[in-house]
Every structure is written in C-alpha cells, then in structure tokens.
C-alpha cells in the first residue's frame, strides 16, 4: 500500500472532496502556518466551492482565506480563535453565514459526537513517515505537541498528512498513528519557524503587571489549594507568566510539589517542571522553543490531545482535575461574564480557545487584567460578548483590587483573612470610571456575524457586525 502522493492537489482529488463538504486544519504552526493557504489554493484551483472550514484557530497568516470567501470557495467557518486581521473582515460582514466559534474542548467534542463531521482533514506534520505516522516534535518546522489534530485524525472521513520532513518508516516517537491516515504529501516547507514558536517568552517588566502578578500568586496561596499535588494552568501573557514566577518562588520556598502544569506550555512552565514544582506537564500546545525542546527530550512532559485536555464529552478530561487556572479578559462584567472574542470597538480579535473549558473545570478560575487598557475600563456593566459565563469565574485580579465572585464566599473570606485588597466588582468599576470616564455603549449592527457555541454545543451568545460609519 502506498499512501505517498506527489502533490496536495492529487491528495485533494483522491480524498473525494466535493462542493459543500467540510475540511479541517489544526493551528499548531500558528502564525507561521503555510498549509492552510497551500491547500485552499489547490482546492480553489480545482473549482471546488461552498466549503466549510473547521480550523482549530485562524491566524493572520491565513488572511488569503478572505479571497476564498469572496470567491465562494469558503462559505462556512468554524474556529476556536480568530486573530484580528481575519476577525475584522468577519465583523465587517464578509461571510453570509455566521462563523461558529467553539472552545478547544467543545471542538473535538462536537467532532466526536458527529455534530460537526469532517470530510477531509489536512494535518500539517513537522515530521512524518510514508505511512502517515507523524509528530510535531522533530524537523525544521517542529511545533511540539499536535494536541489539536487528534480529533481531526480520528474522526475525519479522509485524512491527509502534509509534511516537510519525511523520514523512514516507522517513525519511532509518533503522535498520530498511521491507522488514521489515508494520504501523505511532502512539500518544501509547511511553515515559517519564526512564526511557529517564539524564541523565548518573556516575563513582564511592567510594574503594574508585576503588581497584578504578585496579587495573583497571593490569591492562589491564600485559596488553600496550594499544597502537594497542586495543578495549574496559565497563559503566555506577560502578567500571567509573572504570576507563575511568583508562584514558583512560593512553591520552592514551601517545598510544595504539584502534580501537573498544563496548557499551552511556555518555557517558564518547563522551568517550573525542572525546578521540581510539578511532576509532569500536560501539553496540548507548545508556545516557544524551550517547550518544544522539553516535550522532545523530557519524558515527564506529556503530549495530550484536545479531547483529553478539555472535551466535555470525553470520559474524563484533564481540565476537571485542574486546581487553578489564570486567564485573561478583554472585558469582564459585574456578573463576571468574560469577553475574549471582541475588542473595544466590537471587532473579532480572539476567541475562547481553552478559556471556558479550563474555567469550567478548574477549582479556582482567576482572571488577571488591568483596571483599564489605554483609556478603556475592563470592568463593564455588560460584556459585548459572553465568551465564558460568569458562573465559571471565581475571581478578578487587577492592580487596584481583587474582586471575588459572590458565589464563592469561602474564597472571599480566605482572601480577606490573608489581608488581600478585596473589593466589590461594582466598586472596582466605579473606581476605574472615575479615572477613565464611562465609555459610550457600542453601536451594534443588525446582522449576526458569529455564533459563540459553548463547550457543550449550545449557542451561548451572538456577535453582531460592526456598522460602517
């Protein structure tokens, strides 16, 4: 049996792709990805139209998709995250059919349950063998974990692996195995390494960020969750990473060994593993070179699929064993609903990713955000879009105080007993607005451009077009 085909075009033809079908992509190559654009170009060249693209995320490297939308090649999009460039066009109404946003757990769940069937999955693989065993850990385009691609490989009707590093059969340390793969294509380059992972992820030096980070670490310390077996996830943002640094200092001083660190993994989480703060890392996605190096060489650094990470329909998911998660927000309202989908003008510039999944699973879900960015307050009466419902958020940490969701009275009492600056979220809003003024309410368009589907597959909120002035 020979799975090797000579070009992407041949693989598309062999896959039986037809008008109206659904194709899928993962986003492990992030802003360095070439594969989505290469595949779409071939598909368009073959005259196939009316496709639904199910991508775990779309970055601005994928801006050429806008032409395929205009030409009718792409008529539907489902993604967990859409960066600002593509997002702006969607907010301006480029799609006739609303985009469907899912979460990193909801996407594989809906794929596995047959709610969003995939006809052909195109899997960018930094290393593969001729039968399709593939990995993200090796090769010039190494990205580390291939966590988001597992569900696509397992459930798509046809699976095409696209690699720029074909090795002899069998690839020893594979992530996705040959039994799921139909075709293998080699290309010169699947991506630009500079855009795939960053060199190093830096901890913020911004004094306000450091104040928030120090508060965040103290909240975790005071929560009662920081003890042997502790599990933790944080983002790659400056203040979140600084919080991890403060947390590491506390864990080392108190000789606490956690069970696992999880998430998109940065070099800083690797340092925590190496320092003995955790027994393991559970990695659905690597953010930087140090994380890629670690997942390749350190057996304690485990690759997990998005299903194991966060799917609500898996028999169990790691988010449900998570003690603490630190998350960001572009807006949070006085009911603790969080927006990470749209910017202050209502344009799409993000998405939930694992935000709602980890918030739902973790025992303590913390939002860390400044009281205001530029001149706009973060706390508002009502968020433009509910990305993560307030019932899943426990606490908001800002430089001007810590607001605890009233549903978590125990946490509030613990933080007050620890002498932390606890404030009511409404007071925080008023305090901020005394500095910034009260922003005008956004004018909302009359057409839904995106639907936010919660992790359980239900419609949670709708995003409207931004009216042109």
């Amino acid at each position: 049996m020979d799975k090797l085909v000579k070009s992407i075009q041949e693989a598309v033809k062999l896959s039986g792709l037809k008008d109206g079908m659904t194709i899928s992509f993962h986003h492990h190559l992030r802003n360095g990805d070439f594969v989505l654009n290469m595949v779409m170009e071939q598909i368009a060249g073959l005259g196939i139209r009316d496709l639904n693209v199910n991508a775990s995320s779309l970055f601005d490297a994928h801006m050429p998709i806008l032409e395929h939308i205009k030409n009718g090649v792409v008529t539907g999009i489902s993604a967990d995250y859409i960066a600002a460039g593509v997002g702006r066009a969607i907010s301006q109404g480029i799609m006739q059919k609303p985009v469907q946003f899912r979460t990193h757990g909801g996407r594989p769940s809906d794929i596995a349950l047959g709610r969003t069937p995939i006809d052909v999955a195109f899997i960018a693989a930094p290393t593969a063998d001729p039968m399709g065993n593939c990995s993200g850990k090796y090769g010039k385009s190494a990205c580390g974990s291939l966590g988001y691609a597992f569900a696509d490989a397992m459930y798509a009707k046809k699976v095409v692996v696209i690699t720029d590093n074909l090795v002899a059969y069998p690839l020893q340390d594979f992530s996705i195995s040959e039994d799921y793969v139909d075709y293998v294509v080699t290309v010169d380059a699947i991506g630009d390494p500079k855009g795939i992972v960053s060199g190093t992820t830096q901890i913020t030096r911004d004094p306000v960020g450091l104040v928030m980070a120090a508060h965040a670490a103290r909240v975790i310390e005071a929560s009662g969750l920081l003890k042997d077996g502790f599990s933790f996830q944080t983002g790659a943002g400056g203040a979140s990473l600084a919080a991890a640094k403060f947390l590491k200092d506390i864990m080392l001083e108190k000789k606490i060994q956690g069970s696992f660190g999880m998430g998109g993994i940065t070099g800083y989480m690797v340092e925590m593993l190496q320092a003995g703060c955790f027994r393991n890392l559970m990695d659905v996605q690597c953010f930087d070179l140090k994380a890629v190096e670690s997942i390749r060489t350190d057996p304690r650094h485990l690759e997990i699929s998005a299903m194991q990470y966060a799917s609500p329909s898996s028999r169990s998911a790691a988010v449900d064993s998570l003690d603490v998660v630190i998350l960001g927000a572009t807006q949070i309202d006085t009911d603790f609903n969080v927006n990470v989908h749209t910017d202050s003008n209502g344009y799409i510039m993000g998405g939930s990713g694992g935000h709602s999944d980890t918030a739902a699973g973790a025992k303590l879900s913390m939002i860390i955000a400044p009281m205001f960015r530029a001149r706009l307050p973060i706390v508002t009466d009502k968020v433009t879009c509910v990305s993560t419902p307030g019932k899943d958020i426990d606490v908001l940490v800002t430089q001007g105080g810590i607001a605890v969701n009233p549903k978590n009275q125990e946490l509030q009492q613990r933080l007050m007993a620890a002498g932390l600056p606890v404030v009511d979220i409404r007071e925080l809003k008023e305090k901020t607005e005394r500095i910034t003024g009260t922003p005008k309410t956004l004018a909302k368009g009359d057409r839904v451009v995106a639907e936010v589907i919660d992790r359980y597959g239900q419609l949670q909120d709708s995003i409207y077009n931004v009216p042109t002035k």
Binding site: V208, L210, V211, A214, Q399, G400, R434
Partner: protein
Amino acid sequence: MRRSMLFLPGNNPNMLINGNCLGADAIIFDLEDAVSPAEKDAARILVRNTLRYMDFGGCERIVRINSIDTPYWKKDLSTILPWKPDMILLPKTGAAADAQAVDAYLTELEQQLGMEPNTVALMPLIETAMGVENAFSIATAAKRVRALFLGAEDLTTDLQCKRTKESKEIFYARTRLVMAARAAGVEVYDTPFIDINDDIGIREDAAFAKDLGFSGKVSISPRHVEVINEVFSPTQSEIDYAYEVLDAIALAKKQGKGAISLRGKMIDAPIVTRAQQTISMAMALGLGREEA
C-alpha cells in the same frame, strides 16, 4: 510612616494613575530631573490633575519641584498647592536660606488659599557637599521641615568621586544626615539604589541604611518597593520582643519594682522607647496585638 517613597516621572500618565497600586508608602511625583525643560509645563499640569482627581488612599503624595535656581519652582508650587500635596521635596538644598525661601512662598500660597499655615510639609533634598555640611541648620530652618532626604547621585558628582554600589563614598554623608536629622527631631530618608535588577543588592543596601538610623528609603523603581517595605518593617521577633519589654515594664510597675531585667539584660529607658516605636509601627502595619 514612610518606609518606602517611590519616584514617578511627572510626565508619564500611565505611571501616575497607577501610582497608588505600586505598594509604596509615599509617591514622589517628579517635576525635576525626570522631566526635560520642554515638558515642564505638561508635567506640572499632569501632576496637578493627578493630585486633583486621583484617590491615593493611604499613600502619601509628595511632589519634587524644580530647584530654586531655576525659573520653574514658583510656578510648580502655585500650580499644585491648591490640590494639597502632603509634602514638597526641594532639590539641591544647600543652606537653610534655600528652605526658608520656599517656606516663605509656601506660607504666602497657604494664606491665599485659606489653608492652615504649615499644612504642606517640606523635605529638603541634600545632594551637595554644602548641603551635607549645613544639614542641621537646614533641618531646623523652618517649622514645616519634617524630614531630610539624601541624594547620592548629585552628591558624588559634587564630591568628584565615583558612585559605587558599595557606597563607601557616601558613608560620611549618610551618618552626618542621620545625626543632623535626629538632632533636629525630623525623619531622614536614604538615597535610591540605582541597579534596578539587583534584588540582593537593594536588600543589603536598605538593611544597611536601616542599621544607620534612616527612617526609610527612596526608590526609583517599583521593583524595589516591596523589599524596602520589608526591610523597614519590624520583624515578628522584634515585635514579640517589644511586647515582652512592655509587658515586663507593666509587671514591674504593678509589683513596685524599680529596675528590671529581661533575658538577662537590664531594661532601661532607651529600650522601652524603642519597644514603643516598634509596636506603634507594628500597629500601623496591622501586625500588632489586637488588644493593644
């Protein structure tokens, strides 16, 4: 209580509005060295508006005006005084007359604004050889002088010596200032530690300043604030000992004893005074006994 005082550039709105979140006991809004001549006006207005609109809670608000040999200092004072800064930091104070000139103008402004005399305190910044030599007369130059502050960067330029991390070159100035300030009954604050990335160095430098008798230390970096606060706060064992001293004194009084000893040492008046100072600081920091 001013364990830490943090300089913020008067022309940086983002830092100014976040000033009260950075953990310092006092913020010094800088209109002098941090602000270029072209931006003096803008900074003055920004600092005025910050004083006017921002709630700094328990954080003291100090403004470093320009020195009296510049054309700016009077405008600095007349612009900001209506919004009642807690204290004015006067750079390059070389003699009592410098402090008195500012005192006279402040008195005039306070009268115009209907404020009580001496509402706004004055802290001369001693950063010249002349200033060090005149420290006591400066500290006693006016009623509103409540503290001295040593500025080592300009001082070492004036001394024509190198400014080093070890700071041996300012040892005399440090001890001279502490002596002068304590003799005058005012507080005294140590110069900033310049290497913002040296976490060990700042701790050692602050601890040394505390050992010399400084009341607190000024910082140019928010990153140093926490360490300075920690160093200048009483430790739990110091607080415990202070309570032991006061308890022993109370017991001795009750029993009608004159001289008493604790842990094999005689307790005399200075030890009691120090214990009282420790406890009053512990109370201010919320570290004291609840019933005390």
